[in-house]
Symmetry: C2
Subunit: 293 residues, 2 copies
Amino acid sequence: MEILDGKKISQEIKEEIKQAVGLRKEKGQKIPHLAAILVGNDGASLTYVGSKVRSCEQVGFKSTLIRLESSITEQALLSKIKELNNDDTLDGYIVQLPLPKHIDEEKILLAVDPKKDVDGFHPSNFGRMALEMDSFIPATPFGIMEMLRRNEIDISGKHCVVIGRSHIVGRPISILMSQKGKPGNATVTLAHSRTQNIKELTQKADIIVSALGIPEFLKADMVKEGVIVIDVGITRVSDASHPKGYVIKGDVAFDEVAKKSSYITPVPGGVGPMTIAMLLQNTLLSCERKSVS
Amino acid sequence: MEILDGKKISQEIKEEIKQAVGLRKEKGQKIPHLAAILVGNDGASLTYVGSKVRSCEQVGFKSTLIRLESSITEQALLSKIKELNNDDTLDGYIVQLPLPKHIDEEKILLAVDPKKDVDGFHPSNFGRMALEMDSFIPATPFGIMEMLRRNEIDISGKHCVVIGRSHIVGRPISILMSQKGKPGNATVTLAHSRTQNIKELTQKADIIVSALGIPEFLKADMVKEGVIVIDVGITRVSDASHPKGYVIKGDVAFDEVAKKSSYITPVPGGVGPMTIAMLLQNTLLSCERKSVS
């Protein structure tokens, strides 16, 4: 059994990005610049955005945090987005979700210039990804593919079961794994809340990607010997004995499933850290694309 | 065993469209207008486009066939597309594929205004479809969904195996069948040329959609009793005994598979005729959307 160490791999990627930024600096080229819009004061959102900003600093990017009152109107937020679309110094930006309920998330998402959509959430980027054109790939599935690539895990012809059909994880990873490429060419089954006999499916799977959000859903009796397990679940579970009052749990009963796995990602320290690294990667990519065009 | 009669269902759809056009006429509203660009003189393309134009006439649409020399430059074709994008009388248009080799199909595809892209091939439409927003759904998968809907075939929780990962059939139908909706919520496995043990998969499938292009690939011993079979394959097979010198074969060995099926589409007369009906449907939809906006 080998642990797919997202913390370590993401550090390597950040180190590479840092070097690329250093080279750009030497050559007098533009330094990548990422902005983040945070509306309101949600605790988890603050943590995520803070971590993204710190990561920018680590790799030498310029970063801008734009904090807006939760009472902001949809129109004012759209104006802000228009401003960022027109700001030539910016290579990419993200709008931290969720947004307050009075704002239509879809409308906001569609307003982001696809060329600056480093989250890869705009339908134009999603469609380009699905049709195998250059695009920004959403950070979580991009991170999973990169983990497989860097560990030289061959998924061609293997049967992969993806659990969960969300727009930002399950759907895109099911597409990416079944496309031509390296890694790629897997036979992919997309399972979800309406799937019957999920156990029958997972027991036959060579690879399982779980993006369900149910703590310790995947048990040892649901997988076969030698399975590769990618755990995308991140759920806060109340735990009075812990100083924070909660612990983070993945979708996988790690200890028991690990014993049967050839590769497995831990939670935390697996897919999570990869996500931020790939957001930085997309921002660097955006900066480089602008340089050539 | 019940035959899913695409010829009959597509006639019903065309009849409904014709009535909708009649109503629009009565109310003095705009009549839907579809254009088709045909480059060169390829026999099959001429047949397809001819059939689309005739179908427009049947339902009372205005149609325009734009024939261009196969020697046309990419730039000249792009200018033509720009012209169509700016033509307010047009609700939609298609560019018949394949294009001559000196023209970059992707570039042409991307130049089509997504609002007139009634083929649903533009990444913006594809992404919107995958992200469950309003879009134009490509005609073949749209036709398959419509056949299921009109026969009230419930696919929720059923295991569907899609064979073939093309951008215009396999990939989109795998997405549509696994989305929420009616029909929808199927557990979908996307199989393709690199899939191992395809027979093991198809033998367990409740529904099989084959879009492979290998005549009579799917045999009776590959399916279970009661399976639903959708055959998207259309291959011309040489046959000297036939006046045309060929016969059209699907991916399914129809006679033997039909005996085990609960529903099956024939070839010809199954998915094929549905495709044109859904192209008309998309054009009507585009015309109606413009009326409200």
